[in-house]
């Protein structure tokens, strides 16, 4: 059973459907018991870092996710949910994330040439940087996934699983042990995205 953490942000219908599509069961929940019982956890999210961090801190939900991750449970953050896994975010100020992967969430404008459209919206190619982690098994360099974001993770190289090119190199996926995150939306990335979700559901393990 995969627990999709519901902290009041984002549309979870597609994510839940995509998990069903790969033949796994998912529960959308904020109940501590259900979260503890889940074999794996997904942290979704759409919106701004500040609001999400505040919502996640409520009722100790963020602390619970941290405990579960520390206990070795595979955790996948998606889009804003990925960003929350890092130490800090700099959208509308400076806010603390969960600190599960070292690094910061920075405006992509700091790393791309002026004039490029922001948000970075659309299908863009992946360059897989770390094959030891099974998340991208069966996914090839150049395979496209669907992005919608204006901020992205700046993290030491050893945590980077995949990058994408948008005027500059942006982190597309990152991991530290059992904690991993995708900046793109696997649940909106066609068969490639479903493959990534299946990898997480079946393997989602540590390098």
């Amino acid at each position: 059973m995969i627990g999709i953490i519901d902290y009041g942000l984002g549309n979870l219908f597609s994510l839940q459907s995509s998990i069903k599509e790969i033949g796994e069961e998912a529960v959308v929940t904020r109940d501590p018991e259900e979260i503890r019982r889940a074999d794996r956890l997904i942290l979704p999210g759409v919106g701004a870092f500040r609001d999400a961090a505040a919502l996640l801190a409520k009722d100790g939900l963020g602390d619970l996710v941290k405990q579960e991750a520390a206990g070795g449970k595979p955790l996948l953050g998606i889009c804003l949910g990925m960003q929350l896994l890092f130490d800090k975010g700099f959208e509308y100020g400076e806010y603390d994330g969960l600190g599960l992967i070292p690094g910061e969430i920075r405006d992509i404008r700091e790393r791309i040439p002026e004039g490029l459209k922001v948000p970075h919206i659309g299908w863009n190619g992946l360059q897989i940087r770390d094959r030891k982690n099974p998340l991208f098994d069966g996914v090839n360099d150049g395979d496209c996934v669907y992005f919608v974001h204006s901020y992205s993770a700046v993290t030491p190289k050893e945590n980077v699983l995949a990058t994408t090119e948008y005027g500059g190199v942006l982190t597309a996926a990152a991991a530290r042990g059992n904690v991993m995150g995708c900046q793109f939306h696997p649940e909106k990335s066609g068969t490639v995205g479903l493959r990534i979700l299946r990898n997480f559901a079946e393997k989602g393990r540590i390098r």
């Binding site: 219908f13 597609s14 759409v46 659309g122 190619g125």
Partner: protein, 255 residues
């Protein structure tokens, strides 16, 4: 680099796709779910569903269908047609839409764009504009292209984006249905005016029209069409193959 998107548009009335679609191998050519799956498997990068139903009953059917579509198709879904309030946004987003396009509803009440963008994020709000050239001026038309609003199209699009629209669909009334190519002068003007993704609509009749669009206007993000896809006049795998061969970056899905 980011790829150029190819987007089929499906008109839905009372839960069924209208405009008679002709495809081999589809058991139910007016089922939004089957057609959506078909396009998705052919490599469509996104799907647009327009609800052209007028009745409340039809609306209900539409959201039921949308839910079925979203539970089976894992590419971005945009929904439009009759969106005039935050409740309308809520209704379709809950059923699995990723983006919502507003047209006449935003002309009547531009604040709808701001409210929706604040609530759901800019990326969720698509401004769809029907444009025609009148006395040398690009004008916005409302009510499905029937009423000349007198608004200057470029001014309106700029305003919509400043209110929070995260994408713009430009439908040229003048090229629509003519199948002689997209309205390049209009699209160029829009692309120069705003810094959000611009989706070209109206006029595509052949693969060459898409090539010309992306070659002439490198800043345009996507091409949208309906009947040429529905009638099989342009097939998406072949379209993408040819675009790729002429150096235009598109998502290849390996069929």
């Amino acid at each position: 680099m980011i790829t150029k998107r190819i987007i089929p548009c499906l008109d839905v009335k009372d839960g069924r796709v209208v405009k008679g679609v002709k495809f081999k191998g589809l058991s139910d050519v007016s089922s939004p779910v089957e057609l959506g799956q078909y396009y998705s498997s052919m490599g469509a990068d996104e799907l647009v569903f327009y609800d052209i139903t007028a009745s409340a009953e039809g609306r209900k059917l539409f959201t039921d269908i949308l839910r079925q579509v979203a539970s089976k198709i894992f590419i971005p879904l945009t929904v439009g047609g009759g969106i005039s309030s935050i409740d309308d946004f809520d209704r379709v987003l809950k059923c699995g839409a990723d983006k919502v396009s507003v047209n006449s509803g935003a002309i009547r009440d531009p604040e709808l764009i701001r409210e929706a963008a604040e609530k759901y994020g800019d990326q969720c709000v698509v401004l769809s504009v029907d444009v025609s050239l009148v006395d040398g001026q690009y004008r916005v038309f409302g009510r499905g292209g029937r009423d000349d609003t007198g608004l200057d199209a470029i001014d309106w699009i700029r305003k919509g984006v400043s209110l929070g629209a995260g994408e713009v669909v430009v439908n040229s009334i003048d090229t629509d249905g003519v199948k002689q190519g997209f309205d390049l002068p209009l699209l160029k003007k829009v692309c120069d005016a705003v810094n959000v993704p611009v989706i070209a609509s109206g006029g595509a009749g052949s693969i060459d029209d898409f090539k010309e669009l992306f070659r002439e206007i490198p800043t345009v993000d996507a091409g949208l069409a309906a009947s040429i896809f529905h009638f099989g006049e342009v097939e998406i795998p072949e379209l993408k193959r040819q675009l790729s061969e002429s150096g235009i970056n598109v998502r290849m899905t390996g069929f």
